[in-house]
């Protein structure tokens, strides 16, 4: 038990910088598809990526299904209708040949990553984080692959996996999020361009934290990445995902799918720090982050844990979920969602208990400031055969100022009487007396807010891997700048 948070609060100077710091864009020649969505575009994507026929068919099946369904409207978010025919579905940096090492990567790309603070350069990688960096749709560099290979761990871009490990991809793709799932997941299934793939073989504890940094760069492109992570029997893996996007006035759509598959006694920990461009202080621009993340605890005693820190995006629509199929399997969801200005977030989790003695925990911390709206939406379902299963949900909301909104929508569906479901919810306000107390001890107002918010989120921050926790704390402070008078 660590009693004292290990990190320092950020210095005042960086807390005052009020701009979106990742709002630069890189000028690189792009290989793009024309805007719009039809079977030809899908064929083009599949062809460019040299995909096998089964995958093209899989995409087309999804696309045909997509044509028959409507965009969901149940979330507590508002936005003008999305014109799916004005989006460019494929954009790739033009590259001359396959890259042998980082030295061959376009220096402009490396510069971009440097601004993002991604330690791509292997020499800089003190912490042993392997990075699969996704720049728009194509993964440009993968590090530490050799080290991982020694353990039999496969960690590569999705496209590469399709070429090098087609059997694994075919076996698992769509097993957790089928190509006929929800509207945005189906769209992703039709047009996804790249993403990360990871397979950890039987009994292997992955020797390092795996990390992917996604970035939307090209104008008017949607980003539809697909991540597939498989932990075989007894395997353990921790995966970190960080996201930023350049600053643009138009809204951009991001509809990703993440599938996690845990076999018997396997453990997957998936952590996200999401910092997509949230729009300006008047609500102009920003990313629509409509993401489907789901894990399947397929084997007995398997364990999937989601941790997310969501500070970015104009609109977030995201419910990382667990299907607890194996007996004694465990699902966890730890979330911090911060909204400021005119941001909207509708986020939460779904825990579906199917196996016996399954356990799930949901801890959600929502912080709303400015004119933003922040909703927790969660579903806990106890299936008919899940005897002796338990869920505990705790949803806390913190309000800053008097213009922000917080909502909680817990859905509980119990089909087995031999189960326990607990739900706790609180709503509180950062009050003037707390702020005054901290200021009276010499702490400046921005740091005082940051300290209160960090304290509110402590349970979740403690779930994050160390290096991510530091970044998350900084992001929390930056996201809430200007939120107090």
């Amino acid at each position: 038990m660590a009693d004292e948070p290990k990190t320092e609060t950020m210095d005042a100077e960086s807390a005052i910088q009020n701009e979106y710091r990742w709002g630069f864009s890189t000028d690189i020649e792009q290989d793009m598809a024309p805007p719009g969505l039809n079977e030809d575009v899908i064929r083009l994507i599949s062809k460019r990526k040299n995909e096998p026929d089964w995958l093209l068919e899989w995409r087309l099946k999804a696309y045909r299904h997509w044509l028959t369904i409507k965009e969901p409207s149940w979330a507590t978010v508002h936005h003008p209708p999305i014109d799916y025919n004005s989006i460019i579905y494929y954009a790739a940096p033009r590259k001359k040949k396959l890259l042998e090492s980082l030295d061959e990567v376009d220096p402009k790309l490396l510069e971009t990553y440097e601004k993002l603070g991604i330690p791509l350069d292997e020499q800089k990688m003190l912490a042993g984080v392997a990075v699969d960096a996704v720049f728009d749709s194509v993964s440009v560099a993968t590090t530490f692959k050799d080290t991982l290979a020694k353990y039999g761990v496969i960690f590569c871009s999705f496209s590469e996996a399709v070429q090098e490990h087609p059997d694994l991809v075919r076996k698992y793709l769509g097993r957790v999020v089928p190509p006929t799932d929800n509207f945005f997941a189906v769209l992703n299934s039709a047009v996804f361009t790249d993403g990360s793939f990871c397979y950890v073989p039987k009994g292997v504890r992955c020797p390092m934290e795996l990390s992917t940094y996604f970035r939307i760069n090209a104008k008017n492109t949607g980003q539809f990445e697909r991540t597939l992570l498989i932990a075989d029997e007894g395997a353990t893996v921790s995966y970190l995902e960080g996201c930023t996007a350049p600053q643009r006035d138009e809204n951009q759509l991001h509809a990703a799918v993440v599938e996690l598959f845990a076999h018997e006694k396997a453990t997957i920990k998936y952590s996200t720090v999401q910092n997509w461009y949230p729009g300006d202080e008047n609500g102009k621009g920003g990313i629509y982050n409509f993401v489907t993340k789901r894990g399947r605890c397929d084997g007995d005693h398997s364990h999937i844990s989601w941790t997310q820190v969501e500070t970015g995006s104009a609109i977030t629509w995201k419910y990382p979920s667990c299907i607890l199929k194996g007996d004694h399997s465990v699902g966890e969801f730890y979330s911090i969602a911060v909204t400021n200005n005119y941001q909207q977030a509708d986020t939460g989790s779904k825990m579906t208990h199917l196996g016996k003695n399954t356990r799930s925990t949901i801890v959600s911390k929502g912080i709303s400031a400015g004119h933003s709206a922040n909703s927790y939406r969660g579903l806990v379902r106890m299936g008919p055969a899940c005897n002796s299963s338990r869920n505990h949900s705790q949803c806390d909301s913190l309000l800053l100022g008097d213009q922000a909104a917080a909502h909680t929508f817990p859905y509980i569906d119990v089909q087995n009487p031999d189960t326990t479901v607990e739900h706790e919810a609180t709503t509180s306000k950062v009050n003037d007396d707390q702020l005054f107390f901290l200021q009276q001890r010499g702490i400046n107002p921005e740091d005082a807010v940051s300290m209160i918010v960090n304290g509110f989120c402590r349970e979740v921050l403690m779930e994050l891997p160390m290096e991510f926790a530091v970044e998350a704390r900084k992001l929390l402070a930056i996201s809430l700048e200007g939120s107090i008078g």
């Binding site: 009693d3 003037d432 107390f437 200021q439 001890r441 300290m451 960090n454 304290g455 989120c457 402590r458």
Partner: protein, 254 residues
């Protein structure tokens, strides 16, 4: 060190301070006494800059500068400390973490290096002994689940660690049993020095049995109506406040 001249202040539109004059020099301990609702806590909060209070006229000069223009955290960094009557809870923020950040904010302001872990531990150990609080309270969130007495001792711990020039204690004795009162008083006496000043705001004389004031002032209806030495406090204890009120009305009649 602190000069208050004809200070008037209101809260939520009600005039509370109606012209306070007070001068505090280095080394002084002043006690401000008065019946409930006389404006004692308002004076303490106005000096520290609580946003709920509005200064309507008058001045307060601290170390030769206008105090009332400064933001609360800058007043604190320049050595003005308020021990709260009702210390707030900060969930999830450990006491030690909070104290370290506060100390470093002061150090940075004074152009000093941040405190290192070993030095900080030494400072804490020295001071928790004086205020008699359990080491475990340092690892718990600020004031969360603390008893009334623990909260007050925790305020004194902050006083000792942050080591200000001017300490204002707002009803620090309220809700304390006699043992806790003695400990709090010994903490304040430990703090007392020739280059520091203390303003003790209290309703009762009993705290002044342990913290001997140099001056005692009676605040009534927003004004300091009587000043004296510690004998005045004892007289108030024996006779209550009514005789001063009577004295005042006689004065008005004359």
């Amino acid at each position: 060190m602190l000069t208050i001249t004809d200070l008037k202040a209101s809260v939520a539109g009600n005039d509370i301070l109606k012209g306070v004059n007070l001068s505090v020099n280095e080394g002084d301990v002043h006690a401000i006494m008065g019946p409930n609702g006389s404006g004692k806590s308002t004076l303490a909060n106005v000096l520290a800059g609580h946003p709920a209070y509005t200064v309507t006229s008058g001045t307060a000069t601290y170390k030769g500068e206008n105090l009332l223009d400064k933001e609360p955290h800058l007043r604190a960094r320049e050595g003005l400390f308020l021990a709260f009557q009702h210390p707030v809870e900060i969930p999830g923020v450990t006491n030690a973490y909070f104290l370290k950040n506060a100390l470093n904010a002061l150090r940075e302001h004074n152009g000093e290096e941040p405190v290192d872990a070993v030095e900080f531990r030494t400072i804490l150990e020295e001071n928790i002994r004086i205020v008699g609080i359990d080491n475990a309270l340092l690892k718990r969130p600020v004031n969360e689940g603390f008893s009334g007495g623990e909260k007050k001792r925790n305020e004194i711990l902050q006083l000792l660690v942050l080591n200000p020039a001017l300490a204002i204690l707002d009803e620090t004795d309220s809700g304390l049993d006699i043992d806790a009162l003695k400990i709090v008083a010994s903490g304040v006496n430990h703090f007392r020095a020739d280059d520091r000043a203390v303003v003790v705001v209290t309703h009762y004389q009993r705290l002044l049995n342990y913290i001997e004031p140099d001056f005692v002032h009676v605040l009534m209806d927003g004004r300091i109506v009587k000043s004296g030495d510690r004998m005045l406090a004892q007289e108030l204890e024996a006779r209550g406040y009514d005789w001063i009120r009577d004295e005042l009305s006689e004065g008005d009649a004359a």
